[in-house]
Symmetry: C2
Subunit: 207 residues, 2 copies
């Protein structure tokens, strides 16, 4: 948090949070291009000068939206993996949280679709997108590392490589399902990713 | 091709093609948001009225860019898979065409990154994006089906599901590598996808 943010009054912080949450919702539905000042003001119920006060330009608002989306998707990931991301059951619960809800499969990943729109920007936003992915992936890396340390995954399992494979399947499957308006691609992608992960299940874990 | 397009003179068609190719290059580098009339005019070396003549609005130009990118990525896919997309060697050649060139891994998929930017548009562009993926994926589905028919893949192999898994790994890996500016994610994703495909290799094929 910056000094300026620390000095915000409680009411000011609530207004700022409402703007960020509203902007994130507009960006998810209409894309970054559709996230205009007018749409954000209307969704957040603030004036143009209030919006300008907290976010003097679109880049500063997008920066806050990236942080907000990254935190939200990490919270969701931990909540969805009921048994924890360091168990096969927990990882499957996370997968099922999407596959059990058609709408969740075809709406696009709330963080990934934002990332895909911003990754070409010449500003510092690409770095923020990369940091967001990195923090999110760390949840999976830590979980898979713990499974390997406990001997549930074979020694040949590389937690980093498996995390990249799992996250890639998720992001790519989300994009294909969003494009087609059908959950099949995400279902096939995540099923393959979990089956592949299972090939690293140790004999001890199968017992 | 529409009637209007058929009636274009040869010179007119060359101008139109140059506009589409230039617009595709601008969109790849700067994103759809950065694909402004002025940038396209400059890149293609045409006047504003010429641009307007062929593409009266941004949607009509984007529609042509989607077609152009889809065709280009399909041509590249078939060229890269030297031994054909109906062999393990050919599929690996396609993978290697990316992994052997760091730049190809971090620049983002030329079709997928365009797709990710347009998939939220409320116009008919989402349908065109879906068609592009479908035609591209058909190359892989047909190849995997031929491998299954010849007995190189087990009967349990589902060409459609395996294609979705492979394309998802590719698209997601491209996004993660583009965000991080590092080829590792794409490498891990495609290695996992090819290893997973290999689990469907028939005993006969291994012989």
């Amino acid at each position: 948090m910056t000094d300026a943010e620390t000095r915000l009054t409680r009411k000011g912080r609530a207004t700022r949070d409402r703007i960020v949450e509203s902007a994130a919702a507009v960006a998810l539905e209409r894309g970054v291009q559709g996230m205009t000042n007018e749409e954000v003001r209307r969704a957040a119920g603030v004036s143009g000068s209030q919006l300008m006060h907290y976010f003097p330009d679109k880049e500063s608002l997008l920066s806050a939206v990236i942080d907000w989306r990254a935190q939200a998707v990490m919270n969701f990931t931990q909540m969805a993996a009921k048994e924890g991301l360091d168990t096969f059951e927990g990882l499957q619960s996370w997968v099922d949280a999407y596959l059990d809800h058609e709408e969740a499969c075809v709406s696009g990943c709330s963080f990934g679709s934002l990332a895909a729109e911003l990754v070409k920007s010449e500003t510092g936003l690409r770095g923020k997108v990369a940091d967001g992915f990195d923090q999110w992936e760390e949840l999976f890396r830590a979980g898979l590392q713990a499974m390997r340390d406990r001997g549930e995954l074979k020694r040949s399992a590389d937690p980093r490589a498996l995390t990249n494979a799992l996250m890639s399947s998720f992001q790519g499957g989300m994009l294909l399902s969003q494009a087609s308006g059908d959950s099949t691609a995400l279902r096939d992608a995540l099923t393959a990713a979990m089956n592949y992960l299972s090939t690293f299940r140790s004999a001890r874990s199968r017992a």
